[in-house]
Assembly symmetry: C4
Homo-oligomer: 233 residues x 4
């Protein structure tokens, strides 16, 4: 693959952005040790930028990021890419509106994944962000396309940009890597609040018509950067 000056600029911009976004995973308490990562599609190229495997968050620099093609083959970088790169690459191949993929093992979302139970939509914030429950994807081993396929199939049957892979943890997507990180943070927060709500009683359901109204308003009107919040389908 020839890397044109335009693509070079995009790669270099994304090296900075993806390295910095890992500090948001720490900031919002979504990861322990090295158990989470962010990847971003390079616009205009069949490439992605991703965290190197097994490296501490505080040691990440733009230069240490790995560039792979959309089959996960390393194009730039002297370390192995995150072991979740195959899953992210599959998502980028199948869903062309997705610009970023995030994987964490954040505690409360992972607890729902351990029970293989969707997070019910009982909070207005969930209706805003996810448009309904956060669904569960299939159990899949790491090492082939089964995780990526499980993510894509589950995303296609839901308005949610987050999927809880069974017994594993949340994967989130977004138009940008930053939007996918935001969704990872919101996914953990609603998992936490719903868990607490159920620990001593039962949440009150929200009327589906209200969920639709909240979702439509939020996706169309909220924030200064509608593209970051938007939903392609």
């Amino acid at each position: 693959m020839t890397i044109t000056p335009d693509i070079r600029r995009e790669i270099d911009r994304l090296r900075v952005e993806v390295a910095a976004l890992h500090s948001e995973l720490i900031r919002w308490n979504l990861v322990v040790w090295t158990a989470g990562n962010v990847s971003a599609r390079v616009p205009g190229a069949d490439l992605l930028v991703v965290k190197p495997s097994g490296v501490d968050y505080q040691d990440l620099t733009p230069a240490s990021m790995i560039v792979t093609d959309l089959d996960g083959v390393v194009v730039e970088g002297d370390r192995a890419p995150s072991s979740d790169t195959a899953a992210a690459a599959y998502v980028f191949r199948e869903l062309d509106w997705v610009g970023g993929v995030v994987h964490t093992h954040s505690t409360y979302a992972t607890a729902f994944a351990a029970r293989r139970e969707p997070i019910p939509c009982v909070l207005t914030m969930m209706a805003d962000e996810f448009g309904g429950p956060i669904p569960v994807g299939p159990f899949a081993r790491i090492g082939d396309d089964s995780i990526g396929r499980g993510i894509v199939e589950t995303l296609r049957s839901s308005r949610s940009h987050a999927v809880l892979m069974a017994n594993h943890g949340p994967f989130t997507v977004g138009r940008t890597a930053r939007a996918a990180v935001k969704t990872a943070a919101m996914c953990e927060e609603v998992a936490h609040a719903v868990t607490v709500a159920r620990a001593t009683g039962e949440p009150h359901p929200i009327d589906p018509a209200d969920i639709d109204a909240l979702y439509d308003r939020y996706q169309n009107a909220y924030g200064q950067q509608p593209l970051m919040q938007g939903h392609a389908r």
Copy 2:
């Protein structure tokens, strides 16, 4: 509306204060991403100062704050105000003793809101601060006056300066924006402690006469700045 030099000074002071108070939302773990905001009434004018919508807390500066009138129409600022501005403006119009309004989705308070269940007053700290249970307001969609109306009606029937809007989260008020932030922090803390208390048993109730005695003492005697703690009714 003519902005006199006195009002100009108040606006500029509140731009600094409101921007800084958002860091208290982070400090006390009340918000995730951009999901919370502070607004302050401008003394002597039908104006308020509020956070811009969808902007990260670390990017807030005095200059980036938005000024609106009490119908939520932007008077100063080049971004949209927080989507909760209409609710805050309604509260300022209806309750003239209120100088600040805070909204968060803090986890434990939101969990009570999801069950549409008041937080029972089983802690002396709750008796001090809230004078009884923290009440639940109605379910309301964003976009008209129904959230503001729900907050005001619920506040009028309680000594609490916090309201849990159903399936949504806490809104708090105070004589100043700082007092409203303090109430938001205390609301989350008592929601947390009461949830934990109920997770493995039942809290012991406090005699209503003791609640009254604790509340009266605290509102009249505690602290160096009684106006900040005071209650107009």
Copy 3:
């Protein structure tokens, strides 16, 4: 009361120490807003050094600390002392081995207090530090000696240096203010671990003979500063 040069030095040393110890309350997540305080007896004098009431932790300086006599009457300082000063003063009057008193509303210890239930001794760390369960004191209004009396009576019937005042929260004591802060941190930690242990089952009891053996070893052998860990009775 005449303040000799020796006592002057002690007061000035304790102003620094007590101001700094409040940051440990924040560091170990024991307090929200201003809801906690540390006080220290001035050796050789019937005086104590305590936090001013209603002041933010980040604004505390040695100079802002308040000095009172052991009836709680202000001797040095231009603000009111913490509203818990009467309770601390009572403890210093009654228990001459106590050099420091700490009060917090730390979440998990307060949850036990809300149920008026002692924390059972099911952890070796509890046996080490507390020598048995952490007991509950009576319900008491603020404003007279009833809180101080409740603390002292409960301490006298237990090896624990922590008391959970009913529906209120933990009070801890130590030979020094620093030791009392350590006990406040350990009290919250064991309250948290025991709550979690009971959330999904029942802890296994520890044999009373093992509790005694652990306590004796720890109080006599642990650490570099046995005076800080020691127990007068």
Copy 4:
């Protein structure tokens, strides 16, 4: 014992490393006050480097670390070594592949220890790191070899590098001190997630064949430093 220049270099390197690793215990929220420690075997010598007893984490420096022989007798240092040194020394004597031992009282792992209940392997992250459940060791008093013996016997019957000592807390081992700290962090994280999963339902089990496959892949392929992740047996 003669300390050759080579061993001198190893000791000095480990003084720096072990002092620094204690800040990871704080960073990942595994310890309160001084309740946790790290020790490292000195390669090529029957020596270990360990934290001094009862010293605050922020006061640790390379020079303040203690060096003992593998019977726990102090060789360098002017303070007592951690009271867990005997247990670590026993582990180093018995398991020659172990280069580091960590002990904490981290909240959620300790809660399982209080119930004397293994952490079930219901998360892919657990299968990766621990290869099955995290086992419980016997109840043992501090002061002789019974803790060390309990750790070693339990490790020998499991693939896990973490052991939950009954009513006490987790001990973890690794080829290096850093690997043992990572295992301590992961042990607490999975204890937390599994506790949350069980608080409102039951986790879905993972097929033992999938656990084996995940474990084999992770131990052989993950990360940049396979030695740090590896497993000797």
